[in-house]
């Protein structure tokens, strides 16, 4: 590949991957079948779009794909984004990114990569996923093997059909490094997210792998997904184990590859103190952003039920984000109509934080934000919002009240 015999795109890709692999002392390369490429327009930027277009202008034989790649969240809710960002044609700009990726042969679907719309990897299979929530999900819950292969890195893997073999492709990197025990069962996804945030913030290293014991050894995948993406968001963590639940941790000793240390205990008081630390109780609420991960049909039904017989406060905007297919399903069963009749907005397209949330705040002069996703709170704090995370129920009831309910 280095000599260009496999095309210019593969030559770019392998040179790039060599630089990254050398940085991390990669052993060699490992082949991959599945790639995930993030397609959010804000992240890719104008220079990224230009780069994709340059690649697409190569003759097809010079840019041959060597793995299956999917990009998520095609399409934009034009009506809502015109309201959120009146000064920017985000639908058109997003389409630039989607078209540039599609021109390269990337399957630009509406699907979120974790929802199995795309054939998932098998246990032990190497893959090249871009989104950090997808990477930690695949490493921890599926047992597939993946590093964060962000943006250009996943693109390089698309052309080379391989990734540098370091980090979570290696057995020794997948073993637990820190032990935790929950002495309670979190009540909602915000509390599960707070567990991830607290552990992530404490460990704060990509190379840390927490192992966690939970009371009844059962938790919904959605709950674990919220914990996982906040481990990644607050601590850049790419893998965790839950003893007796995740596939590489049937017991403590297997998870660690040796006798485990005494676990650090996390209590409900720790979690509630962390959630309360974001403040804002009783203050006027400008926007409720329910996304990250995008909502499931069961969550949309819950929102509709919470809104039945009520209306979102006129000074508060309620945004509920779902993949296009889920939005269509919600419309088929009347849930979309119930949410909208109560003054909420059901939005498809990229998540709130990934669609120029700073510009949205400036455009509407928003300050206080509520969300059930701590990742949204974490990112939006850097965009000038004063966020607070709480349960879905508390978020919706606060939207109705127009203020942050305690």
């Amino acid at each position: 590949m280095l000599d260009g015999a496999h095309g210019d795109a593969a030559r770019w890709g392998i040179e790039y991957q060599q630089r990254v692999g050398t940085f991390f002392d990669a052993v060699d390369f490992t082949p991959v079948r599945l790639i995930h490429i993030s397609s959010d327009r804000e992240t890719i930027g104008n220079s990224g779009i230009a780069f994709l277009r340059e690649l697409a202008e190569l003759p097809p034989e010079q840019r041959k794909p060597r793995a299956f790649a999917a990009a998520d969240f095609r399409g934009f809710d034009e009506e809502t984004f015109k309201f959120l960002l009146p000064g920017r044609d985000l639908a058109a700009q997003s389409e630039e990114a989607v078209e540039a990726l599609a021109d390269l042969g990337v399957a630009t679907s509406h699907a979120y990569i974790n929802d199995h719309s795309v054939t998932p990897p098998a246990f032990g299979e190497a893959c090249g996923y871009s989104g950090t929530p997808s990477v930690i999900y695949m490493n921890s819950l599926v047992g597939a093997r993946c590093n964060f292969e962000a943006g250009p890195s996943s693109l390089a893997a698309f052309f080379t059909g391989r990734v540098p073999r370091y980090g979570f492709h290696l057995d020794e990197s997948r073993r637990a490094t820190h032990a935790y025990r929950l002495d309670f069962t979190p009540c909602n996804v915000a509390e599960w997210g707070a567990v991830g945030a607290l552990i992530g913030r404490a460990l704060n290293s990509y190379w840390s792998v927490p192992a966690l014991e939970i009371p009844d050894r059962s938790a919904a995948i959605l709950s674990l997904n919220h914990m996982a993406l906040n481990l990644a968001s607050f601590g850049s963590i790419a893998m965790f184990h839950i003893i007796g639940v995740t596939p590489e941790a049937p017991d403590w000793e297997t998870a660690f590859g040796k006798p485990a240390p005494d676990p650090t205990v996390l209590t409900q008081a720790d979690v509630l103190e962390f959630l309360d630390s974001w403040g804002g109780a009783g203050e006027k609420l400008d926007v409720v952003a329910l996304s990250t991960p995008q909502l499931t049909i069961t969550e949309l039904v819950e929102i509709a039920e919470l809104l039945d017989g009520a209306r979102v406060h006129p000074d508060t905007t309620l945004l509920a984000y779902a993949p296009l297919e889920i939005k269509a399903a919600a419309e088929r069963i009347g849930v979309k109509q119930r949410i909208e009749a109560a003054g909420g907005r059901l939005v498809h397209g990229h998540d709130f934080f990934a669609t120029f949330a700073k510009e949205i705040r400036e455009s509407h002069n928003w300050d206080r934000l509520m969300t059930h996703s701590l990742k949204v709170a974490n990112i939006c704090a850097g965009y000038g919002y004063r966020p607070r995370a709480a349960s879905l129920e508390q978020c919706v009831k606060s939207a109705i009240a127009g203020k942050i309910l305690p």
Binding site: T43, S47, F148, N204, G235
Partner: protein, 144 residues
Amino acid sequence: MTPQPDALIFRGHVGIGSPVRGVALAASDDFSARYDLDRDRGVVSRPAHKLYGESYVGKILVLNAAKGGVASAWMLRDMVLAGKAPLALLLNNANPVMAQGAAFADLPFVDRFDTDITQAIRTGDVVYVDPVQGCVRIETRSSG
């Protein structure tokens, strides 16, 4: 060049990019292009960050650990091309996203030092960064 005392030379892992010389902007906080920066203005925008409000453009940015996800990999190159990037990035610990972003942007980047680099280098120090050798040398100490 006059040999420098070893105390002012810090060794890390072999990095990414070409050697550069510049003025340091240092803190013990972590780093993400998405979470922490106003990339249009070139300043740190997270109120809780120790460098809140500071311009990082053209500086040797010295921080603790890479955080966050996919975004920095695309964003660093966009920042370089827009003239709103640091001159180099030094971290105690990278994650793959930051290394992938630095490689894509050709942004000089070194991590895994033999000391806590955020304590070794002070804001205002004039620093020579050599990613090829994986080392950093303080050439002039800040008077602050």
